[in-house]
Subunit: 321 residues, 2 copies
Amino acid sequence: LFGIANVRAQDPLPSWNDGPAKQAVLAFVKDTTDKSSKKYVEPADRIATFDQDGTLWTEHPLYGQAAFALARVGEMAPSHPEWKQKEPFESVLARDNAAMSKFTEADWMQIIAVTHAGMSTEAFQGLVKGWLANAKAPRFDRPYTDLVYQPMLEVMKYLRTNGFRTFIVTGGGQEFVRVYSEQVYGVPPEQVVGSSIATTYVNTNGKPVLMREPKPFFIDDGPGKPIGINLFIGKRPSAAFGNSAGDTQMLEWTQSGDGAHLMMLVLHDDAKREYAYGPAANLPDTHVGTFSEALLTEAKQNAWIVVSMKNDWKRIFPFDE
Amino acid sequence: LFGIANVRAQDPLPSWNDGPAKQAVLAFVKDTTDKSSKKYVEPADRIATFDQDGTLWTEHPLYGQAAFALARVGEMAPSHPEWKQKEPFESVLARDNAAMSKFTEADWMQIIAVTHAGMSTEAFQGLVKGWLANAKAPRFDRPYTDLVYQPMLEVMKYLRTNGFRTFIVTGGGQEFVRVYSEQVYGVPPEQVVGSSIATTYVNTNGKPVLMREPKPFFIDDGPGKPIGINLFIGKRPSAAFGNSAGDTQMLEWTQSGDGAHLMMLVLHDDAKREYAYGPAANLPDTHVGTFSEALLTEAKQNAWIVVSMKNDWKRIFPFDE
Ligand SMILES: [Ca+2]
Ligand SMILES: [Ca+2]
């Protein structure tokens, strides 16, 4: 009896149901840290990369950063009376969800330009902090940073305990995620790789700032993920976690390295506790965080592990019972 | 007597003569690591950034990476008979130093395009490794990586021993420096920030590579240094070390942060043991690693510490007596 209690207390992944996904994580850590294993990985090379939206926190009905941008448009609107007759702002201010769901990349770039640029990096970080402190995610009515997945926090912590460095590799904004990554995920700013806009160095009277410009600099999505990993880390990950088409190349890149690998994709098949979307596995189609049938096919071909939120996760959020 | 021997044995900077520069490093470390000091810096925020060429290793008569590029042109020449009548290659192949010293940025970009691009990142790393193993720096007739400054290695090690992370922030090629940074400086690849060209993800038959393209992506020089520091590290350094105009903004950025700072510039005033160039301080003018009179003026105004190689350094290279 004491033995059983002890084993339970030591389970590094208590929010995971037993099954192939949990076993794969445990086996990967055992192999990469056992010096007698052929799959042993030197501590300096223990790199694990995690997509954020839909892999570490909830991305429905809208990416957290998009919610921030739309809230900013609302706050800025009084100084921009022209927005009432100017798209895409008009639809944002009218809370026209149908119109917003059809926004093009160019529409979003206009929104990003006014909400994410034209200010210093410090000013931007301050806005993000302020928003995080007050905004509530729909349905759960909690701060966005409460909606992180407890099982993934356990994987990150377990990997770090075993000498891995955990990096976030996100299509979202690097500077945005860095504001809360340490507190929420235990990932310091320098281990966040993301999309970014250009910045300009401006030194006025010995008070230099980096001004954020309305111009994309790097898009960390799809092929941009291995490119960003090489650029920022310079080492190939041994483990990579994602949930949608934009993670395909990161997982391919991870798998093609020498030694041990672990590639996992989170499938949102739990409408009751979180959200359900695909369209893979006959789940509802979605514009946010698409898990396509093609991705599921590639996952099967490459023996990537598909995590079922419904079946593999005992608990979804830290605040769940 | 035992006490004196003990103090000597513990000197973390034995290659530095006693003086304001050495004292500044010692005082900085004392202040930033003493919890009772107002200048205490939390371990997670202990960041020090180092320019490479002329700050950590010799850059005369030519940057190491330029020597690599010119050697590559020579190796590739048999497959490019047209280069014999085509500038800038003609001058390179004729070893026409006068002509090469007048190469424009566009000339160098042509040389970079053929020597640094059109191959995978792995292939490029292999070429750099091969070159480093065989190339000899002029005058000293030693491998380029022997020509690192022992006093700076001591500063880097001393900072790391005290919880600092040491980053290289170089105008040189990030992928180039990463090949040897760990072995030569104890700086892992992910702590090298540098200039880079664009890469493209190409996956042929499940064997993905990153192809290096003949297109600049990021220039980590001048204002690019604080931009690169923010992009790659996301934290402001407490200490920064450089040697030329391209480091100005990095030092300004470091100085403008909260808490303790240390800003140092290496002045090459030692023609006997290394090289002497300015044109600041009435030293010979140079096209490589210019230390201008304007930089010296800004250094004095801002109380940046100018390190005299001649007076502050007891020993220059690890191989010196
Ligand atoms: Ca995602
Ligand atoms: Ca330099």
